[in-house]
Amino acid sequence: MSSENTPVKRENGIGSEIITKIAILAAFSLFLSTVEYMIPKPLPFLRIGLANLPIMVGLALFSLPEYLILVTLKIAGQGLINGTLFSYIFIYSAGGSLASSLMMYLLYKLFHNKISYIGISLVGAMTSNSVQLLLAQYLLFGSSIWIIAPPFLLMGLVSSILLGIFVNHFTDRSRWYSSALEFTGLYGKRGRDEISHAET
């Protein structure tokens, strides 16, 4: 592994290979968002958060600016696909996604060898849901929004644990992920552990 400790050169800001990886993960996020859209839900506001899977996969691959580009692409792409780019829904989506992504990134960078993707996913979902509840309180529902907070947060809790389990599984077994990890060279100890685990 020649690139193990050497970050890939990012000439002219961000290299084209990195851009391709960001665009692929953003497209994957959009794809999962469409899959989620087709799953019937009792209320239109309830979400499983499948689209966060690529965002979590990107934690070990990208620097903060690159990661923020991925998150912005996910938010903008969802807004365009669902047609909500210029509506209140977009504010919820953007607020929740941005807050949770930053929290997950911070957690990953600070405690990446102490916390699993399940923990990261859980904190991300709780952050996203709390921000969305606050926005809903001020924009649409008023303080009665907190009546639906328990089922909303419970749904987030369950789905984020399942998502975290899947991300753990994916990052352990995916060929694409381990080659991307090797390529970007931004990983710390946990990233190297993940590569050696995938190789064995």
Partner: protein
């Protein structure tokens, strides 16, 4: 269809001009008419009218606002009172949300291409997305990650060139002929003027 606007950027501009007239509207009846207008506009540009979504949003937001009693009591069910202020606030918020969703759908119905580096990146994302949607097949049992890997690697290995993704060309974000642009401009101007005229009736208190 002839009534559709071909130019996505003109739709965005028209939508942006309609937003203040919609959000600042004080009259509930005018707001209702505006919502109807926006739903029809989105439907004319290929968007589906989702009656269930509209009903659920209208009912849930109104119901949640009814819990915060405000103003004259219209009816009581046990200890719960339906108040006029809460009902009007709930309806107003629900209609604002529904109206903005359909206005937004009208604005982005032409797959707009945004200018600049980020716009190109967005186009690249959408091309990969289209590839995912068309190439995705139901994976064999227990081989979900392998199937996903194959797709991700295909994209990585350049099934789409920079030219295809629009990453190397400098597009203006405008599609179609010059004539289409002039017609679209006329249609957009008509829509915006009609929308603002309705709003003015509400602002002036002529319509409730």
């Amino acid at each position: 269809m002839k009534y559709r606007m071909q130019k996505p950027d003109i739709r965005i501009a028209a939508g942006l001009l309609m937003i203040p007239a919609f959000l600042l509207q004080p009259g509930l009846v005018v707001q209702g008419l505006q919502v109807f207008f926006l739903i029809v506009l989105a439907a004319m540009h290929g968007r589906k009218i989702r009656v269930v979504m509209i009903t659920v949003v209208l009912a849930s937001i109104t119901a949640m606002n009814l819990l915060q009693e405000n103003g004259r009591v219209l009816a009581s069910i046990g200890s719960f009172s339906i108040t006029l202020g809460a009902l009007l606030t709930g309806l107003e918020k629900a209609m604002t949300l529904i109206g903005m969703i359909y206005l937004s759908q009208y604005m982005v119905s032409g797959k707009p291409r945004f200018p600049g580096w980020f716009g190109q990146l967005l186009s690249k994302q959408f091309l990969y997305f289209e590839h995912l949607v068309t190439a995705w097949k139901k994976p064999e049992k227990g081989k979900f990650i392998e199937s996903l890997d194959t797709l991700l690697e295909e994209m990585e290995q350049g099934i789409l060139t920079d030219e295809e993704t629009g990453f190397s060309d400098s597009h203006s974000g405008i599609a179609g002929s010059r004539n289409a642009g002039i017609w679209d401009f006329g249609k957009a101007a008509g829509i915006v003027i009609a929308f603002w005229f309705g709003s003015a009736m509400g602002f002036a208190g002529i319509w409730p």
